[in-house]
């Protein structure tokens, strides 16, 4: 039984990192009032770009490390660019964000798939970034294997929770972002440039989504496929609601969801094969719906003007 629990947690924690990164980014987006449903597509592009650079350049040892790092940076940069493109559509032209998000998702997912076939093609992997056990701590029994022998990006993802919390709730920029999401007109009258703040939040959030994608391709699967992201972007958006727009809540959501997924993988690995695994795959999604039902009841926690365009010239 202990083996089972250890397996379950060692699978679950790396799974949660991609969701965590993307959801933290989406939290910042939504706090500024922009609902970015294109997260899935941005993750896809991030995954492709993050893998492309190590694939083309290669290298070994110290060089490979820098190459992989530049892949991650490029993924974040492409994510931010796509976020800004999305921003032009929903901020500059005030387009409805839900549909524009679907457009962004289709566009970026399709683009990543097309470019992948052209530049890489076939099922080719990369060496990627390997796990980095933390000295001494990784030797601890049980806990060492679960928490301190992970991929560097996993540590980074968990580190981003306090960072994003600090950014949103303890810095002037975070205050501006939250003001733009809750009452953009008041923010505007106080001299805050609502559009610019939203662009900044979008760029930051989308860069995180790009990183989340790159984590999946470079660190987790070490390969790119059309189904690599597999709906994680949409789940990341749902987790923001789940976590009530707070980084710590999002952390809880990402862990709960990934553990539900890991449970399914662990059950499969332990060969309780008589139970149809499709129902276990379904479980996390059902969980999200159930949780959304309970979260939906509580008003007055999220950004009030989420999904609403702000236009200085209009009087509404």
């Amino acid at each position: 039984m202990l083996d089972f629990i250890i397996l379950f947690l060692t699978v679950g924690i790396p799974l949660s990192s991609a969701l965590l990164l993307a959801s933290l980014g989406e939290t910042v987006n939504q706090r500024s009032g922009v609902f970015n449903l294109g997260c899935e597509g941005i993750m896809s592009m991030g995954a492709f770009v993050g893998m492309l650079i190590p694939f083309l350049v290669g290298g070994s040892g110290k060089v490979a490390w820098y190459v992989n790092l530049s892949g991650l940076v490029a993924a974040a940069a492409v994510g931010a660019l796509l976020g800004l493109l999305f921003g032009v559509v929903v901020i500059r032209f005030s387009a409805p964000q839900g549909i524009a998000g679907i457009g962004m998702q289709l566009f970026a997912t399709g683009l990543a798939g097309s470019l992948y076939r052209h530049f890489i093609g076939g099922a080719q992997g990369v060496a990627g970034i390997d796990a980095l056990p933390i000295p001494f701590l990784c030797d601890l029994p049980i806990v060492g294997k679960m928490f301190f022998s992970c991929n560097p990006m996993v540590y980074f993802a968990f580190l981003m929770v306090p960072v994003v919390h600090y950014l949103l709730f303890k810095t002037p920029w975070g205050l501006r972002v939250r003001a733009c999401g809750t009452m953009p007109r008041a923010a505007d009258s106080m001299g805050i440039d609502v559009s610019r703040t939203r662009y900044q939040a979008l760029a930051f959030g989308s860069a995180m989504a790009g990183l989340a994608g790159a984590y999946l391709s470079v660190c987790y699967a070490k390969i790119f496929t059309d189904t690599l992201i597999g709906g994680r972007g949409f789940i990341a958006v749902a987790l923001v609601y789940f976590g009530r727009w707070s980084p710590v809540g999002v952390l809880g959501g990402a862990l709960l969801f990934s553990l539900a997924q890991a449970l399914q993988l662990a059950v499969q690995a332990y060969g309780f094969s008589s139970f149809p695994y499709e129902f276990l795959v379904m479980l996390p999604y059902i969980l999200v719906v159930v949780v959304l039902v309970f979260v939906g009841k509580s008003k007055h926690v999220g950004p009030a003007m989420l999904g609403k365009a702000f236009n200085r010239e209009m009087r509404t």
Partner: protein
């Protein structure tokens, strides 16, 4: 200058089309393809033979039906992106019924498919109206749940004994011949053989007309549109917005379920792994492109069927562009349309454009 609005609208649309084509051309160039050849295959090749054209019509059929469904939801103020899941549930219910009941007939199978889709629209509708769960999220989750349910049924209870235990994709047995939608070849003589052109297109067009009449000529349709146009005003006017919201999701889901059922009864004649063809998502683009009007959806669906067929034919024509290109084009078109609509509707920008226009081309009005 009274008719400047028309000049402005036309100008913005022209710019939007040019922008879309330019971006598409840039991406194609990046992929190392000959841009003109690719455009020829995407836009013209589908018209070259009867076989190609009938392929286009077969794609147009589910696109129209889904697009009409999306229009109903959108006009009622709820955004249905669960088309995929509703199609799958429609297919699943239709298959369960037609493979287990001996005396299954075509109309009843269609009806069962419709009910399956409606059920999958009902849940997000209730979640939205009762618990305030965003439909954008719940419908996506229901898509995954439906996909898993379908995968399970295809793998275990409905699996074709012929492929059981072997390799290859799981599929169901072939449906009884009496359940197939008639093929045009069989009805009319003298057409080239070997096409899968089926009569579903008439179902699609009839549905578009019926939904148009329902939404624009009946009290219930009016109430739904009122709830969508302004929820507060509708509530003040005594319309029970929640009820019509759920109804709209049901109708929308029913359309998607029908689309799925028509697809298997017309084209595949059995349940296969990837049976929705992504129409649940591309239907959204079609609905938007058709101005969210059931009758506008018909030409929009035709247009997208052409592009979609063209993209899938790229490889046959030896153009090194993957068929994922269709997603790129669809996404691009959505982004451009939503932005263009708002640019056209913005009176301040029109004013500014008008001032520049008169400054440039000068006849001063009195």
């Amino acid at each position: 200058m009274k008719n400047f609005k028309w000049i402005y609208t036309a100008g913005v649309i022209l710019l939007a089309v040019l922008l879309t084509l330019t971006v598409a051309a840039l991406i194609l160039a990046l992929l190392g393809a000959n841009v003109l050849d690719t455009f020829w295959v995407i836009f013209c090749y589908p018209f070259t033979t009867f076989k190609n054209l009938s392929g286009v019509i077969n794609i147009m059929t589910p696109l129209t039906i889904v697009g009409v469904g999306i229009c109903v939801a959108y006009r009622s103020g709820i955004m249905n992106i669960g088309g995929e899941g509703q199609m799958v549930m429609g297919i699943l219910c239709a298959l369960l019924y037609s493979l287990s009941v001996e005396s299954a007939s075509l109309p009843v199978t269609l009806l069962v498919g419709i009910l399956g889709g409606a059920l999958w629209g009902l849940f997000p509708g209730i979640l939205k109206s009762r618990f305030g769960v965003s439909e954008l999220l719940s419908t996506v989750m229901f898509n995954y749940i439906a996909a898993q349910l379908y995968a399970y049924c295809l793998r275990v209870p409905l699996l074709d004994p012929a492929v059981a235990g072997g390799v290859g994709d799981p599929q169901t047995e072939k449906l009884a011949e009496g359940l197939w939608l008639p093929r045009i070849n069989d009805l009319l003589d003298g057409l080239p053989k070997g096409t899968r052109f089926h009569t579903g297109i008439f179902v699609a067009i009839a549905l578009a007309v019926i939904v148009y009449l329902f939404m624009w000529k009946t009290p219930a349709g009016f109430k739904m549109r009122a709830a969508g146009a302004s929820e507060r005003a509708a509530r003040y006017g005594g319309i029970s917005v929640d009820k019509y919201l759920v109804l709209a999701m049901c109708i929308s889901g029913a359309c998607c379920g029908l689309a799925g059922t028509v697809e298997i009864l017309g084209v595949h004649h059995r349940g296969i792994g990837n049976c929705t063809g992504g129409y649940g998502f591309s239907g959204i683009v079609v609905a938007l492109f058709g101005g969210l009007h059931p009758l506008g959806v018909i030409p929009a669906a035709f247009f997208f069927a052409v592009i979609s067929y063209g993209c899938s034919a790229l490889q046959i024509n030896k153009i090194p562009v993957p068929s994922n290109m269709i997603d790129v084009l669809l996404g691009l078109v959505i982004l451009v349309i939503v932005a263009t609509k708002l640019i056209i509707a913005n009176p301040y920008w029109m004013d500014r454009a008008q001032r520049k226009f008169t400054a440039l081309f000068g006849r001063k009005e009195a």
